[in-house]
Amino acid sequence: MTATSFHLTRSSPALSLGLVVALGVLLAVVIVSVLYGAADIGAATVWAALFSYDGSTEHLIIRTLRVPRALVAVLVGGSLAVAGAVMQGVTRNPMADPGLLGIEAGAALAVVAAVHFQGISSLAVYTWFALAGAALAAVVVYALGSAGRGGITPLKLTVSGAALTALLSSLTTGILLLDRRTLDEVCFWLAGSVAGRDLGLMLQALPLICVGLLGALLLGRKVTTLSLGEDVARGLGQRTAWVRAAAALVVVLLAGGAVALAGPVGFVGLVIPHAVRFFVGVNYRWILPYSALAGAIFLVLADVAGRLILRPQELPVGVMTALVGGPFFVYLVRWKVRR
């Protein structure tokens, strides 16, 4: 079965071309992000820093600060958007988002607790705890949201996520207050920012995120079927339980990896899939790759805007995404979702 048999609004070649264009836009915004910063560094110097590194201060800034920052934004934005898209498709919940449903808060709490109770300070272990926390939170929120008559409804699931987020983040705050050392170690990380992440941490999370992205893309067609409803998917011969489990694993890998890198950043997974769906229709084989690129573009731009708005101070990227995503969330709740 080819993609065109889904009777989409746009043809397959046009969509392929669109992906290439999106990739170009992503490259452009990454370049803008690297060029722009507190120190004025010309394009020629940036080029030299990348390809003929001489160890000068400017080259050091480009290599250790600006490039990692842009790459982290790309990775985090892409994985959060794909995680959100998979969640929205599988749960048929237009308000699904790893941040709103408490999965990011779970990952954050697990990391903070690990640092506090185990004294773990190696970044490598952060990632595994983040994954475990994300998985646990996902199970709890799903159980809570699906209790009662009518099974899992968007409103119930989202409110459960909010309750879980409140609990987990207040526990996180409590641990941080108890322990100055933990606070110092993870404070930079918990703000939900892409600044100051070193390449070592990125290399830790990179394989997880790559596996998650690959898995998501492979699941694309199954998610499309499942998004038509449990009954339809079963009728078409899909073993829905397996697809759900695989999708959950993908979400945990992506969201956990993203949180390990950047801390909790909300609303990317909510907004991007909706924006993408507007352009490419309802087929997740296209929605997922487009979400990856659009999420990356969005987060890089949000980071640049966060640096621009209050010069010379910087706003964490999580604030920028909340400013864009919050109103969109209210719009969804108000006008798009029935009980």
Partner: protein
């Protein structure tokens, strides 16, 4: 035969209260518990003071140690009194919100009202650093009213959906929270330090000045809430019934909402966001004295006081010498309670 209701005041006058028989008993019990908790809380600390000495020092009697008077009356007493006050104010505004919206999940922090009050106060602090403690509650009130209006407008769609109100509140809270961060980043550093002190939801370091800022608001709006409580019973029957019974629905709703917003504004300016008290206390009170708001309101007020004093006491003693702000303690208790409420209402 034992009557089920107590009527306080003459029925010919416009002011009378009809209370469930259980109310006075519980009020006395809760007041006693709050008193005991307060005395304990004043006594506990880096420098422990026996309960008897605490009572002596509060009453101005000689305790044989000149330090006691200073520690109790200057350092610890205002803190406990503020905790009592904000607990009552938050609980009462929670009762009003749950009654008005007929939504068991409504509470100041879940609907974004608290966040609105905080943002307005931070804006005032950043805009005019010299703003006095007296001006802050007014700004916070404006913010609370605007947030309440917004959440109501955005969530009302002709049907009552408890969850939609909460979700719009959550969306608003995250937008307002982001804007607050923008303001805090934008402002001068020392203002920010001042702003952050009460944004964390703590009664740490509260002085008599903070209490003085709180008292006038409590003195006006707690009695107002008590007088308006009977209208909540009528409004709770639904808009049509209330109108049919001759209620001036819009006026009463407006007054009640203003009262709730004012109480939240006063607490936010003194102690920041102490979450979930406004959610829990009304539920406990209803469980104790039944659904009539004239009884629920004072019971919830005392329950709220007790909760905040205990939360503050726990926060100070659990991990001493480190202090956990009472806002964190109430959230850790309140969020699971919120989940329990969701679970209990799962079929609605």
């Amino acid at each position: 035969m034992r009557r089920a209701w107590l009527v306080v005041g003459r029925q010919q006058t416009s002011l009378s209260f009809r209370l469930d028989r259980r109310v006075p008993v519980w009020l006395l019990g809760l007041a006693g518990a709050a008193l005991v908790a307060s005395v304990l809380s004043v006594g506990v600390g880096e420098y422990p003071i026996s309960s008897l000495d605490v009572i002596r020092a509060v009453l101005g009697l000689e305790t044989g140690n000149p330090d006691h008077s200073f520690i109790v009356r200057t350092l610890r007493l205002p803190r406990v009194l503020v905790a009592l006050g904000i607990g009552a104010a938050l609980a009462v505004s929670g009762v009003i919100m749950q009654g008005l919206t007929r939504n068991p999940l409504a509470s100041p922090e879940l609907t974004g009202v608290t966040a609105g009050a905080s943002l307005a106060a931070v804006v005032l602090l950043v805009a005019t650093p010299a703003a006095s403690v007296v001006a802050l509650p007014w700004a916070a009130l404006l913010g609370a009213v605007i947030a309440a209006g917004l959440v109501y407008l955005l969530s009302w769609r002709g049907d009552d959906s408890p969850l939609r109100l909460i979700l719009v509140g959550i969306g608003l809270t995250s937008i307002i929270g982001a804007l607050t961060t923008v303001m805090v980043t934008f402002g001068e550093i020392d203002d920010v330090a001042r702003a952050l002190v009460w944004l964390t939801g703590s009664v740490y370091g509260t002085s008599w000045e903070g209490l003085r800022a709180l008292v006038p608001w409590m003195a006006v709006f707690l009695p107002a809430a008590l007088i308006l409580a009977r209208h909540l019973d009528v409004l709770h029957l639904g808009e049509d019934v209330a109108r049919g019974l001759g209620s001036r629905v819009e006026l009463q709703r407006g007054l009640l909402l203003l009262t709730a917003a004012a109480l939240v504004a006063a607490t936010v300016t003194v102690a920041g966001t102490v979450g979930f008290v406004g959610l829990i206390a009304p539920h406990i009170a209803r469980r104790l004295v039944g659904p009539s708001h004239e009884g629920v309101l004072p019971t919830a007020a005392l329950t709220g006081s007790l909760i905040v004093v205990l939360a503050d006491l726990l926060g100070r003693t659990l991990f001493a010498p480190v202090e956990i702000p009472c806002g964190v303690v109430t959230a850790v208790i309140g969020a699971p309670f919120f989940m329990y409420l969701l679970y209990r209402n799962r079929n609605n």
